[in-house]
């Protein structure tokens, strides 16, 4: 009996601690959604299927564990066509974080590296629509986007200069789904970043533009007030899959089992 109690006690601290691996994700229920982007083929909005999303962006410590297990993704080994030369340049070495803190979101990662990390967890990057859908929520509402106070709060982060150190993950209030740090921490890769065709190219009008983009015109926005979303789209539409920046990180998603 005494022995069993000791075992139980030994296990207890785990329960109160950081989520076990299976719990890195929350289930985001599906629903009808109107993107801030005006999709000509989905003028009345779209339906998001339920999915699982990581509570927090992937951290330096988590990404370090990944490159230890997958040496081909270590800085200096990853092919430059898949990860540009500044890949993981915030770390002091290929396997040492240096001044980068373990609990900071990992940045300086390319789309290829982010996708490889998620694939190694039997997961994937979220689609843009999944990301935007989860990011429309605040602490109590699934869609807070019409609330001027919510917009103001988010914009105040985007207005901050990005020169300071990145904050640790986990400090942000969980939204109604339990997801943290969708705003106020880093920009995040999405699986279909290259589907966001809003770019400098697209502002050109006329024949050249029609030739460049097959089918209907590329995306335009429905919601000029939603600057925060539009800034995300502008950023993601301007980067190539091998690019990395100091404030672009990611989190993974999964289909429901």
């Amino acid at each position: 009996m005494a022995r069993r109690a000791a075992v139980l006690l030994a296990l207890l601290p785990l329960c109160g601690q950081a989520a076990p691996p299976g719990d890195r994700y929350v289930t985001v229920p599906g629903g009808a959604f109107r993107s801030a982007l005006r999709y000509e083929d989905a003028a009345d909005g779209t339906t998001v299927a339920p999915y699982r999303l990581m509570r927090r962006p992937v951290t330096n410590a988590e990404f370090l564990a990944f490159v230890r297990a997958h040496p081909e993704w270590q800085r200096g080994r990853a092919a430059v066509v898949l990860a540009e030369p500044r890949y993981l340049s915030q770390w002091s070495g290929p396997l040492s974080l240096g001044d980068a803190r373990p609990d900071q979101p990992v940045t300086w990662v390319s789309w290829f590296a982010a996708a490889a990390y998620c694939a190694a967890q039997s997961a994937r990057l979220p689609t843009w629509t999944e990301w935007e859908y989860a990011a429309a929520a605040d602490e109590t509402r699934r869609d807070a986007r019409e609330d001027p106070a919510w917009r103001e709060r988010i914009l105040s982060w985007y207005a901050q200069p990005s020169t300071g150190a990145l904050r640790a993950v986990g400090g942000q209030p969980p939204n109604v789904y339990g997801v943290q740090g969708l705003h106020g921490l880093v920009w995040e890769w999405v699986d279909d970043a290259s589907a966001l065709l809003v770019s400098a190219d697209n502002r050109e009008q006329g024949a050249a533009d029609k030739l460049r983009f097959c089918g209907a015109a590329a995306l335009s926005t429905d919601d000029r007030e939603n600057y925060a979303t539009l800034m995300r789209v502008a950023l993601l539409s301007s980067v190539q899959a091998a690019d990395a920046t100091g404030n672009l990180g990611f989190r993974c998603a999964k289909d429901l089992p």
Binding site: V80, C214, G215, A216, Q240
Partner: protein, 198 residues
């Protein structure tokens, strides 16, 4: 004795082969063939993306049910093909990767080859594994989005790769007139493309 000589001759004939390195030289880090990707060609044969190494190629993406731009993509590639000399043509490949792998089966791709009278010796039409599609598009710098009606919005860059898979040039200019600088780059690649690979 005669038999021994024959074996010896055979061994000697093989010698040059065995002198070659067993494995090809390492791919350069800026080669698009660094990405592992599985595809299927128009004959239904599985193709590893990196098997395309060895020949300079002009690569782009398309989908067969596209009515407006995609025929123009094929036209543009054919215009380049026509402007090359026979010798140049023999050293350049043309690669069309479908962004609609659900519908662009090998049969659908074979139909395009037949309809457009593409020379299968030079033209490679590929159905990618859906899981590898975004990565391939990322390598080629091509952006696309599938629409509710089955069509796609997409950019239409033609990308010139050297035999090792390094991007030499790209153009967004389509049409029969094409992009003179891009054509010049294709010619130069054909001229230098014999040294590496095959």
């Amino acid at each position: 004795m005669k038999r021994l000589l024959r074996i010896l001759a055979a061994v000697l004939a093989l010698a040059p082969l065995s002198a070659r390195p067993a494995t090809p030289p390492a791919l350069p880090g800026d080669s698009v063939y660094q990405l592992p990707a599985a595809l299927t060609d128009a004959s239904g044969k599985p193709v590893e993306w990196r098997e395309l190494r060895g020949t300079p190629r002009v690569a782009t993406m398309f989908y067969t049910s596209c009515k407006y731009i995609c025929p123009l993509v094929v036209d543009s590639l054919r215009a380049i093909e026509r402007k090359l000399s026979a010798a140049e043509r023999a050293r350049i490949g043309f690669v069309l990767i479908s962004m609609d792998p659900a519908r662009d089966t090998p049969e659908a791709l074979a139909r395009i080859i037949a309809e457009r009278k593409l020379d299968p010796a030079r033209w490679t039409l590929l159905q990618p594994d859906p899981a590898d599609l975004r990565g391939l598009a990322g390598l080629l710098g091509i952006r696309y989005r599938s629409l509710a009606d089955g069509e796609f919005n997409h950019s239409t860059s033609l990308v010139l790769l050297d035999a090792e898979g390094r991007v030499l040039a790209r153009t967004d200019q389509l049409g029969a007139d094409g992009d003179a600088a891009f054509l010049a780059a294709v010619r130069a690649a054909a001229a230098s493309g014999t040294g590496s690979g095959r």
